[in-house]
């Protein structure tokens, strides 16, 4: 019984001795993760996203495990495992080689200098530094695990996150297309177009296109939406068609009045609406020319006007109301209540004007009527039998001319022939006109001062001698006509005889 117990204890002891090393080996051969432990923590962005990338150093604990080898040898092995192939392995700062297949086994002398430092480096990766827990036993292996991490694992750029939409847009499309689009008074482009990145609010829009009436409106923009602006432009009213009239005159520079409005002087081209228009041309010394012109749309027509020399003028006589006016002994009218009488169409030249009224002395004078001019005559009447009222101070003009004998008119009233002295002239400006046959009429304005005799010496210019107009020789056609007529008369006479 005692022997059995001893044997059992021995067997159990042997079993225990045999099992324990194997169990230790299995337990110590725990591998640690070689993948880098990188945690990218991205918090939910508010406005500007904040991204934190805390990188935790890998908690790789170099563990050396001594594997029992063959006894009696001086060499042992240090096996360096690395997660990146091609990494350089240094023992005591001496390059031992590079890892391949995840491992580099370096043979070391067990009795030599112990390995104090193991460094594993790789370009672009972190450097791992450690030391073996112990030197390997002869023929044994010591395992070292090194984990290196990429240096670029920390994101350096802010990841793109979609911010909350806070703007809107306006899409403008006009009908017809191509309209210029303005927003808040500023030009943005031509339709169709989209105006993006607009804050929410109201915008003043305008679309303009040549030939169309502009469209304006307010458009509301909301965040995240595209507001439509679809203006339909209406055609502008078509301009009325017009025609043109080119007006020329002889002589030139005649004033042109169309439908009563002054347009300018000839030569002149006017643009008018279609229809009948009244043209009046005026030029001093010439009769007014009046005509109606029918203007047609899109047509240009010419209106050449040859103005005739004026032969008639207008007279405005001022006197007391009710007085009778005679011209060359013919009664022509009565002074109106306003104190004047206007007579048109009076032939140019000298006329004897007489103004009479009951109880007044007759006013009689010779008046020169200028053509195409309004001639103003003052005919003051003095009551009969009444001593003349004191007259206002007057002055005189001593008029002489070269040659002498010229008919003299002062304020259109005939006063005699030069040389002469005209008295009783009111102070102020007076129109003096000298006329003599063969000489050009001389007209001037002179100022008379009360109580003074003003000399006025004038020289008349000889009128140009009219060039005799050559009688045109009868042309051959005219001669033939005359001959034919004579032949016809002769033939007729012969037949009658």
């Amino acid at each position: 019984m005692k022997t059995k117990e001893i044997i059992l204890i021995l067997v159990l002891t042997l079993c225990l001795v045999a099992v324990v090393p194997v169990t230790f080996g299995d337990n110590t051969s725990v591998t640690y993760p070689l993948t880098p432990v990188i945690t990218d923590v991205t918090t939910e962005p508010t406005f500007m996203p904040t991204v934190t990338s805390p990188v935790t150093e890998p908690t790789t604990i170099p563990t050396t495990v001594e594997t029992t080898g063959m006894p009696g040898q001086d060499q042992g092995w240090i096996d360096v495992y690395c997660n990146v192939d091609g990494s350089q392995v240094y023992f005591n700062n001496i390059l031992e080689g590079t890892t391949a297949g995840g491992i580099l086994s370096v043979q070391v002398s067990v009795s030599g200098t112990p390995v104090q430092t193991i460094t594993v480096t790789q370009s672009g990766y972190t450097t791992w530094t450690g030391r073996p827990s112990s030197m390997p036993s002869p023929g044994g292996h010591v395992t070292v695990y090194a984990t290196i991490n990429p240096l670029t694992t920390i994101p350096t750029t802010i990841p793109t996150t979609v911010p909350p939409v806070s703007t809107g847009a306006i899409y403008a499309q006009s009908n017809p297309a191509g309209a210029a689009i303005y927003m808040n008074g500023n030009f943005y482009g031509y339709s169709p177009l989209t105006i993006p990145n607009l804050g929410p609010g109201t915008y003043s829009m305008k679309a303009t296109l040549s030939g169309y009436t502009p469209d304006t409106t307010l458009v509301n923009v909301y965040a995240g939406q595209t507001a439509p602006y679809y203006p339909t432009l209406q055609q502008s009213p078509q301009p009325r068609p017009t025609g043109s009239v080119g007006v020329t005159s002889t002589p030139n520079h005649a004033a042109v009045y169309i439908d009563g409005s002054y347009y300018g002087v000839t030569p002149l081209t006017v643009t008018l609406y279609p229809g009948t228009h009244q043209f009046v041309l005026k030029y001093s010394g010439y009769n007014d020319y009046t005509t109606n012109v029918v203007v047609y749309a899109g047509q240009t027509q010419a209106l050449p006007v040859s103005m005739s020399t004026a032969t008639q003028g207008t007279v405005v006589i001022t006197s007391i109301p009710g007085a009778t006016v005679y011209i060359d002994s013919n009664a022509v009218g009565t002074i109106s209540s306003s104190g004047s009488l206007t007579l048109a169409g009076i032939n140019m030249g000298n006329h004897i004007f007489k103004v009479t009224a009951t109880g007044y002395n007759t006013w009689l004078n010779t008046v020169y009527i200028q053509a195409n001019t309004v001639n103003t005559i003052s005919a003051p009447l003095t009551p009969q039998g009444v001593s003349p009222t004191p007259v206002q101070p007057t002055g005189s003009l001593a008029i002489s001319s070269s040659p002498s004998g010229a008919e003299t008119y002062v304020d259109n009233l005939y006063r005699g022939t030069t040389p002469l002295t005209v008295t009783d002239l009111a102070s102020g400006d007076h129109l003096v006109r000298l006329s003599e046959s063969g000489y050009v009429d001389y007209t001037t304005t002179t100022t008379v001062t009360a109580g003074q005799l003003m000399p006025l010496a004038l020289t008349l210019t000889a009128a140009p001698t009219p060039t005799p107009t050559p009688v045109p020789a009868p042309g051959s056609a005219q001669v033939l006509c005359i001959l034919a007529t004579l032949a016809g008369i002769c033939g007729y006479m012969r037949r009658r005889c």
Partner: protein, 225 residues
């Protein structure tokens, strides 16, 4: 008795019909007339503002900054506004507003009353919060007018606005500023209330018609008896 009731009923019915017809016609005529008067007044103001705006060159006002109220440049623009405004006695004030298109705020650039009343007028850069801001915004694109009288710190007005374009600054015809015109609210109301006679004539017509119906009804009743 039955005949009297029938006659009375007919008179009442005729009166009601007459009142309804006359009232409807009067209301329609008044509405149309009032609308036309308002539109006419607003169009007139818009046209005036539009024409005045064309007379202002953006280059005349682009350099104005706060504190420049007494510079010859400001005085010249103010005088020009005042001269144009003086053509119509109803125009109380003419001014130029600058609209900041970023935040749509409005500030004064020129007030034609400033040379005459510096203390009671708006200065350059003075922010204005107009009751009719919508019309001012719309005036960046074209002439507009207040749809109805409004009241601000200076009184009650109806205003017209028109864009001053910067074509003189060689652009695409962008709007540089907005010209404003003020008309007294009383003046505006006196114009738009000219059609009150329509209501008066409608009331008189109703009275006359009712009277006639009453008299004729009584006469008919008397003839029957």
């Amino acid at each position: 008795m039955a005949q009297n009731c029938s006659r009375t009923t007919k008179c009442i019915a005729a009166a009601i019909v007459a009142v309804v017809i006359i009232s409807a016609l009067t209301a329609f005529a008044y509405y149309k007339s009032n609308e036309t008067l308002k539109n006419t007044a607003q169009w007139g103001l818009e046209s005036t503002a539009g024409v005045m705006a064309t007379q202002i060159n953006a280059s005349e006002i682009q350099d104005l900054k706060p504190g420049d109220e007494n510079t010859p440049q400001y005085q010249a623009v103010a005088a020009k506004l005042r001269n144009m405004r003086s053509m119509d006695d109803h125009l109380l004030n003419a001014y130029i507003l600058k609209v900041n298109t970023t935040d749509m705020s409005t500030s004064f650039l020129v007030d034609d009353l400033y040379p005459l009343d510096p203390s009671g007028s708006a200065k350059i850069g003075e922010v204005y919060n107009p009751p009719d801001k919508r019309e001012i915004l719309e005036a960046l694109s074209g002439p507009t007018a207040s749809p109805a009288p409004y009241t601000d710190q200076w009184g009650s007005f109806v205003s017209a606005y028109a864009p001053i374009d910067d074509s003189a600054l060689n652009s695409n015809g962008n709007t540089y500023a907005v010209l404003g015109l003020d008309v007294s609210a009383d003046e505006y109301t006196s114009v738009t209330d000219q059609d009150t006679w329509i209501i008066l004539s409608g009331v008189i017509s109703i009275i006359v018609v009712l009277g006639l119906i009453f008299i004729l009804g009584r006469k008919a009743a008397a003839d029957k008896t």
